[in-house]
């Protein structure tokens, strides 16, 4: 990482924002690491019963992957100087991000319909809490993607540095959250 000037210009600010995001993702990683250690400890309790996972979760996984891929497509369009075309990719990513959140609500409602509530069993407590904590971060990511969509439509190629920074942030955040989702899914699936 190069050192920015004491009053950074736009490109240097872009590097700063990326660095800031990496640091933030480090703290989020520690949050889920703490949840994981609690999960491992609590799972050893005699009252633990595996939670039923609604099948819609697999659809949601595909939807979140789609959102991440759409953003990656937007980034690559920008690299090939076709920022104007990236707007559609952004819209798809945004729609899929919202769809994922809706899908999670569906999963929670299916669990409730099956008589599995937050306090039913420690496994269900963890399921609701972990997916809830992840969803809170996805809400933030959807906000960032919405902001990226606005930047794409309003600024676009006229300010390539700003657009690149915004898109990198959206991509990194979304890819990270997709990775966290895969991790959480594996954690609760193999319990």
């Amino acid at each position: 990482m190069s050192i920015a000037a004491t009053h950074p210009d736009a490109a240097e600010r872009g590097d700063l924002v990326r660095l800031g995001l990496w640091i933030f993702l480090g703290t989020v990683t520690m949050l889920f690491a703490a949840f994981t250690s609690a999960y491992v400890v609590r799972r050893s309790g005699a009252d633990w019963q595996p939670v039923w996972l609604p099948p819609v979760l697999w659809v949601n996984t595909a939807v979140l992957l789609g959102s991440s891929l759409a953003l990656e497509a937007a980034r690559r369009l920008g690299l090939s100087q076709r920022v104007a075309s990236a707007g559609s990719a952004y819209l798809i990513a945004l729609a899929l991000g919202i769809a994922f959140l809706a899908g999670q609500v569906v999963a929670w409602r299916q669990l409730v319909a099956a008589g599995i509530y937050l306090p039913t069993n420690p496994s269900s407590s963890f399921f609701f809490m972990l997916t809830g904590a992840h969803a809170v971060h996805v809400v933030a990511a959807v906000g960032v993607i919405a902001w990226g969509t606005v930047v794409t439509w309003t600024v676009g190629s006229r300010d390539a540095v700003r657009w690149n920074t915004t898109t990198d942030v959206c991509c990194l955040f979304s890819h990270f959250l997709f990775g966290v989702w895969l991790y959480l899914l594996a954690l609760v699936s193999f319990s």
Partner: protein, 590 residues
């Protein structure tokens, strides 16, 4: 890019609210943190006064206090439940809302950009957001005094089941929920602040300011911030789970078979020890989040008053790094009596005693920094020296507590209270005062009164040392902490005199702080005008005006040519060369 037109661009046109209330200037935000922390300290000290009144005169009827706190002083004598709430809030406020705000966030905000030669933090808006969330966090905590059941009473460590069951104690009702909410806000704010400091040190340094030229203050904030970023999220996770246990019927921390008020609770299978692990995974690094900046500040103040470079700069930096790493893996030494496996206890003993190696080297480096110096006993220097004294004395007690065998006897006694007050209380308090006296001229363009400052020092250090040194011996006698009175224990009757002496010393200590507040307020408006570099110091903040302008360095960007401790040299300005003096004027020694 040109920076000539940047510094005050548009700033003078901003209204009062944008310049001083919702400001993005790191200096204003730093001062906001410091003032908020000092106000919170008033609350924390008032609570300490209540504690010492109770322990010094446990049978006395306090008419005035029973008027102020009718429920807490039923019949004129403090109730055990109120005592628990007072102790809990005293600890919480002093650790998180005084030392963290003033020393870490306050001076961290003020000093880091100036000392690395930046015009502001990496993310100024985030910085402003951080302060206002911190302010909200303090408000929520204070509000908890006024809800039904009163403030939280489960200790600053909030151990369940006491903290998880509303019926357990009056403070475990809404007060505990607000405590948790306040902590969540605090962590969010601290994360933003830490992120800013790390990014600023990493990426927004002046030309020539390599990592090897950073002052130890900056190094200490850098490492403390990384620790905070890694250690605080687990407490967030724990707080979420505790809130769910309290309000959603889950059993993360609540075991089965709990009976409260002759009623069997429906909880099952949870582990209270899980909370302890998660809490101390934060709690122990938090000690270093507070202490490292204190040590860094002391290291930067010493050379200005010995007129010689700090000793062992590079080794000290590596010690800070080593302490940072080790502090993440020693948390279990707070839990030796929790039924931990002896083998695990041995591990935690070993790594805890290992951490004393870099800490001792650091302490010896501070002592060696005095050797051969021309010591000037000014107020900041006196407080910096007291940092070394308390660091040595308090650290010595830590050797006993880090050893599992000794800790079995000393755990939850006043030995622990004496130890941690000397370390995260004393070291940080003395460093906070050292920092205020040292950088006051830079922050406000005026100097504080020297005679009042010296009187304040002796009125602070003397009683402080007496109080917490004696508490070690009360602990050795077996006096348990968190008890509201020892009147019912025959084996502790002979400690009543010591407790009385401690309480009287505490009154002197508290009264001495009036000298500080008078000096602080009077100097703000009528103190002698300060020169840009009144201490003839070398770090970058002393190369700009007092107080620094918006953008810190007027129309020129600082260029760094040397390390931060160029003292004892022949230079046009005297026996020092600040970091911007080029080699052609004064040869670079390191």
């Amino acid at each position: 890019m040109s920076t000539a037109a940047l510094p005050d661009a548009g700033h003078a046109d901003l209204g009062f609210v944008r310049r001083y209330i919702f400001s993005t200037d790191h200096k204003v935000i730093g001062i906001q943190y410091i003032i908020t922390g000092l106000v919170m300290a008033l609350v924390g000290v008032a609570l300490a006064l209540l504690i010492r009144l109770q322990l010094g005169w446990p049978d006395h009827q306090w008419t005035l206090l029973s008027t102020l706190f009718p429920a807490g002083y039923a019949g004129g004598v403090m109730t055990p439940e109120f005592y628990l709430a007072v102790v809990t809030m005293h600890g919480t406020i002093m650790v998180f809302f005084f030392i963290s705000y003033v020393l870490v966030s306050g001076f961290g905000n003020y000093l880091v950009p100036l000392q690395v030669g930046a015009r502001d933090m990496a993310f100024p808006f985030l910085n402003m957001l951080s302060y206002w969330i911190a302010f909200l966090s303090a408000l929520v905590l204070i509000a908890s005094f006024f809800v039904e059941g009163g403030a939280a009473a489960a200790g600053w460590t909030a151990y369940p089941p006491l903290s998880a069951i509303a019926a357990a104690v009056p403070g475990s009702q809404l007060g505990q929920t607000l405590w948790l909410l306040s902590m969540a806000l605090f962590i969010a704010s601290f994360t933003m602040s830490g992120l800013n400091i790390v990014a600023t040190v990493f990426s927004v340094r002046a030309p020539g300011m390599s990592m090897g030229r950073l002052p130890l203050t900056v190094w200490s904030y850098f490492i403390a911030s990384i620790l905070g970023l890694l250690a605080f999220p687990p407490l967030t996770a724990a707080a979420v789970m505790l809130l769910l246990d309290r309000h959603a019927g889950t059993s993360f921390f609540l075991p089965g078979g709990l009976v409260v008020g002759n009623q069997l609770l429906s909880t099952s299978g949870g582990s209270p020890l899980l909370w302890q692990h998660l809490f101390w995974f934060l709690g122990h690094p938090e000690v270093y989040v507070l202490i490292l900046p204190a040590l860094g500040i002391a290291c930067d103040i010493l050379p200005a008053f010995t007129r010689k470079p700090v000793f062992g700069y590079r080794i000290s930096v590596w010690c800070l790094v080593a302490v940072g790493v080790l502090s993440m893996i020693v948390w279990g030494h707070h839990m030796f009596v929790s039924g931990m496996s002896p083998f695990t206890g041995e591990y935690f003993s070993l790594v805890t005693l290992t951490i004393t190696v870099p800490m001792t080297i650091f302490g010896v480096n501070m002592l060696a920094s005095l050797w051969g110096g021309t010591i000037r006993m000014r107020v900041p220097m006196m407080f910096a020296l007291s940092v070394i004294a308390l660091f040595g004395s308090g650290g010595f007690g830590g050797l006993f507590l880090g050893n599992a065998t000794a800790d079995m006897q000393l755990h939850d006694t006043y030995f622990v209270v004496g130890h941690f007050h000397m370390m995260i209380g004393g070291v940080t308090l003395m460093a906070t005062f050292a920092a205020i006296y040292y950088w006051f001229p830079k922050m406000f363009g005026r100097t504080m009164n020297e005679a009042l400052g010296k009187a304040h020092f002796w009125g602070t250090f003397g009683p402080f040392f007496i109080i917490f040194f004696m508490q070690h011996f009360v602990g050795l006698e077996g006096a348990p902490r968190r008890y509201y009175a020892f009147t019912s224990f025959d084996y502790l009757q002979h400690t009543r005199g010591t407790n009385l002496a401690i309480s009287i010393s505490a009154m002197v200590l508290i009264a001495a702080q009036a000298l500080f507040f008078v000096n602080f307020c009077w100097s703000l408006v009528a103190g002698r005008r300060a020169l840009p570099n009144p201490w003839h110091a070398t770090t970058l903040e002393w190369t700009t005006a007092s107080p620094p302008p918006y953008g810190n360095f007027a129309d020129r960007e600082p260029v760094v040519h040397r390390w931060a401790y160029e003292y004892g040299v022949e230079a046009p300005e005297g026996d020092f060369a600040d970091q911007t003096v080029p080699p052609r004027s004064v040869p670079v020694t390191v």
